[in-house]
């Protein structure tokens, strides 16, 4: 009978069967209920000692009934396993949360970069086009000085090329590309690149006096700084 009780009470702790209700109500209810509390205590004590070879019947609890041998040991082992798994789960959850945060940051950056990528591509293409623009402008400037000597047909042709140059400028403008003001402006290293300095009577020191290559910005960003000649300080003359 004693063994029977042990069997039942140890069964009751982890799993509550529906028919236990009836069995307990008839004759074992008080005993089984009494058993619950000390058994929990014993398990907790066992856990706190964390000794794997916990004696299921230590002297302290020798008098208490329903302390089964192998079943109790198994229960303790299960509890220990449960605690270990819970700790492992918590760790895994934390790792997952951290990975998720990392991923969120990555996603945000990718989204922002995608927005920037378009502008970047336009800027890259434009930057490669700029030397062509420079040369076209130079060619037109060189021809303009000779214009009066050329034939009428050639002047018509030149005018056509000028229109094409203007068209190219308009295309760049439609892409958000703006030329940077240079001549007469105070020298600003954020948009101008000083190539040479020269004393000037006409301009204040640190003023751009000649544009060697035109600079451009795309949106609020610099595409290429202007290459400029800057008026030197009088003291340096």
């Amino acid at each position: 009978m004693a063994a029977d009780k042990t069997e039942k009470s140890s069964n009751r702790i982890p799993i509550h069967f529906v028919d236990d209700e009836d069995a307990g109500a008839s004759d074992e209810s008080p005993l089984a209920d009494d058993n619950d509390a000390p058994l929990e205590g014993a398990v907790d004590r066992a856990m706190s000692k964390s000794s794997p070879d916990f004696d299921p019947n230590p002297g302290l609890q020798a008098g208490e009934p329903a302390m089964g041998g192998p079943d109790f040991a198994e229960l303790v082992a299960c509890r220990a396993e449960l605690k270990r798994l819970e700790a492992a789960l918590a760790e895994a959850r934390e790792t997952a949360a951290r990975r998720q945060a990392d991923f969120e940051n990555y996603r945000k950056r990718i989204e922002r970069e995608r927005g920037e990528n378009h502008r970047q591509v336009v800027a890259d293409v434009a930057r490669k086009l700029l030397p062509v623009m420079d040369n076209l402008t130079r060619a037109l400037d060189a021809e303009r000085t000779l214009e009066s000597e050329e034939s009428k047909e050639f002047r018509h042709f030149l005018h056509g090329v000028e229109l094409i140059s203007k068209q190219l400028n308009e295309v760049l403008e439609s892409l958000g590309i703006q030329p940077i003001a240079a001549i007469g402006q105070p020298f600003d290293p954020h948009v101008h690149e000083a190539v040479v300095t020269e004393p000037s009577d006409e301009y204040e020191p640190d003023t751009v006096i000649e544009e060697i290559a035109r600079g451009y910005r795309i949106g609020d960003r610099l595409l290429r700084p202007s290459m400029v000649k800057v008026a030197a300080h009088k003291t340096q003359e």
């Binding site: 950056r109 020298f187 290293p189 000083a194 190539v195 040479v196 610099l222």
Partner: protein
């Protein structure tokens, strides 16, 4: 969580990179460049320019634009390196109490590591912007 950041402090250019998912990502600077010239410029208006922008104004402000200062780190003013820099550099290189080479700009004396530090600050800020966003 800590990030792994690498900095190349070069004589003429600097670069900063972040290790991300096992691969190295170069951190672009404010101007969008992947490297930052190791140049510091001090303007008449009291501005301190660093990198590409300092380099662009070097021609107009040669005596207050400091570059290649890494060469002077740990060098004595009397050393061959110190003397060669003194002869060729447009900025002023001066002696100090302990004999180390220093740079004088607009009346203030800077140690070479101090000037390198100004460039490093810029790289640090770029890396912070890159990682924070």
């Amino acid at each position: 969580m800590g990030k792994i950041i690498g900095i190349d402090l070069g004589t003429t250019n600097c670069c900063v990179a972040v290790l991300e998912g096992g691969t190295v990502q170069i951190v672009p600077n404010k101007e969008g460049g992947r490297t930052t010239p190791s140049v510091v410029g001090f303007t008449d208006k009291g501005e301190r320019l660093v990198g590409q922008i300092a380099k662009r104004q070097a021609v107009t402000n040669a005596s207050n634009t400091v570059y290649a200062v890494k060469r002077l780190i740990g060098r004595k003013f009397d050393s061959a390196e110190g003397q060669r820099m003194r002869e060729t550099a447009p900025f002023e290189i001066v002696d100090s109490q302990n004999g180390d080479a220093r740079v004088r700009v607009q009346g203030r004396v800077y140690s070479p590591p101090e000037l390198s530090g100004i460039v490093l600050q810029r790289l640090k800020a770029a890396a912070e912007d890159f990682l924070a966003a």
